[in-house]
Subunit: 261 residues, 2 copies
DNA sequence: AACAAAACATGGAATTTTCAATATTTTTGG
DNA sequence: CCAAAAATATTGAAAATTCCATGTTTTGTT
């Protein structure tokens, strides 16, 4: 547990109650005190404020705990019971499926803050279908599922709103599926970079937080394909990169590749 | 409109109100009178009975129209506004995505009755992401989305239940995605036939309602792959088929191929 | 700073998969 | 019932993609 944590009162009990440690995973133990927590929680309030009352919000807040996750840490784990839903305050996460047979990973979709995560997992009767893993340092509120469930049952308006948000992320997975199913390598990789620019980094120049391997797992091809394609694109003046810094210099060309492949 | 249609009163107006004709698609115009409609609708009631009251059910029933769709007909169309949700009383449907660029179709998942369809589409803000098409003759209730929406907002319990059902179908699409992304041809085709036996035909011997082309669109490979693989499997004693009649004679072998293939 | 591990990069061989050409069988519509 | 269309089937060539071997660079840790 970090020594810099400031607790105005003991919320470690709350923490240990709401948070189930994940196997073989080291968890970032930092969390803020209630005051800070409340401030940070305003993002969730903002998303939800149209639909839930102050009373309802306070109930959720009581069932929530604020956590920081470092790059690579698992937030919600595939195969576990969906005991929590997560509100992503800041950072970027991947929806990762790990094949039980081989070691292969598939990234279903990427999501950047602010978003409510785990809704899709939550509504299954079964255990989590995929993991949610930080690809950048993240600030997260883990909310006890049962508390949210009670709210949803009482507040249909909010239920519909939450489903819409959860559906958005499903939709993105499906869109990626369609890209993978119909297009070949180069068009798929183009789709990934268009997606990164439009939905993750909100611009054409960014510091890439994904490794080539992760991009391969997202575009469903080999690492070599990613590396070769990026090199080719750099020669063709479509992208320019050095290390992790990357700029898409001709996004229209990328859109063309996405279509014609 | 079929001459054998018996209408105890004029519901064709209701029909035309609820039903938006689909472009380039001939629609089955048969529908039953209100009495029959009520009887058949009990399936929907049964699915929903734990969550909605008789009053609420009657409201939904008033906003519903019973239709028969013939094999190949489109029930909900990709790109259209999600004006309706469908209760599949009997039959089998495919979730079909048609690529705007080329003519390629992708079958995201298959679903057999009884199920509530279009929930996923419903929760999007956007238009339908995919079409729902009959692969066998279907009996369907089309329910006005706005009526259901009102119910969901008032009845959070039912909203949660409906979303769970919609999530199930999403989950199946995702599982297919994972199969396509990670496995190669033969293992994917094995997955498709295991799915058909377990979730669609509820047995290892069935009359295949999909063409080889549709199976290819489901397993995301070429028609030739399906034909060759089936021939090979028949020689190896894994399946036996003649025309549309097919029997999986060694499903364990199929499961092995799914894993190792 | 040194070292180990991971990530990045490149090229060719091997494999998988699609495409193209063609023939047979089954289904559909008049 | 017949003709046309669609579906099924088979084959080899072409294309796409992964795998493998190898080397360089970057990152993280002690």
């Amino acid at each position: 547990m970090s020594s810099e944590t400031k607790c105005s009162r003991d919320i470690s009990l709350l923490y240990s109650f709401f948070f189930v440690p994940l196997q073989n995973e080291t968890i970032s133990m930092n969390f803020l005190d209630n005051k800070d927590s409340k401030d940070n929680f305003s993002g969730f309030r903002k998303i939800s404020t149209l639909f839930i009352s102050d009373d309802e919000f306070r109930k959720i807040e009581k069932a929530a705990v604020f956590l920081r996750f470092k790059k690579g840490e698992t937030i919600l784990k595939q195969g576990h019971a969906p005991t929590h839903i997560a509100y992503l305050q800041s950072g970027i996460v991947k929806f990762n499926f790990q094949s039980p047979e081989n070691e292969k990973n598939t990234i279903l979709t990427l999501v950047s803050a602010p978003k409510i995560l785990g809704g899709a997992n939550l509504f299954y009767k079964d255990n989590n279908l995929f993991s949610i893993v930080a690809v950048e340092d993240c600030e997260i509120f883990l909310i006890e599922a049962s508390a949210l469930y009670e709210l949803l049952k009482e507040n249909g308006n909010y239920a519909v709103a939450l489903f819409q948000m959860a559906s958005e992320m499903f939709k993105k997975s499906i869109l990626n599926f369609i890209s993978v199913a119909n297009k070949q390598k180069e068009a798929r990789i183009a789709d990934v970079f268009i997606y990164l620019a439009e939905e993750i980094y909100f611009g054409t120049a960014f510091k890439l937080s994904l490794t080539r391997k992760e991009i391969a797992e997202f575009a469903c091809c080999s690492v070599e394909n990613i590396i070769m394609t990026l090199s080719k694109w750099q020669q063709e003046g479509i992208v320019s990169f050095s290390g992790k810094n990357l700029e898409i210099t001709n996004i229209e060309k990328l859109r063309y590749i996405s279509k014609v492949g």
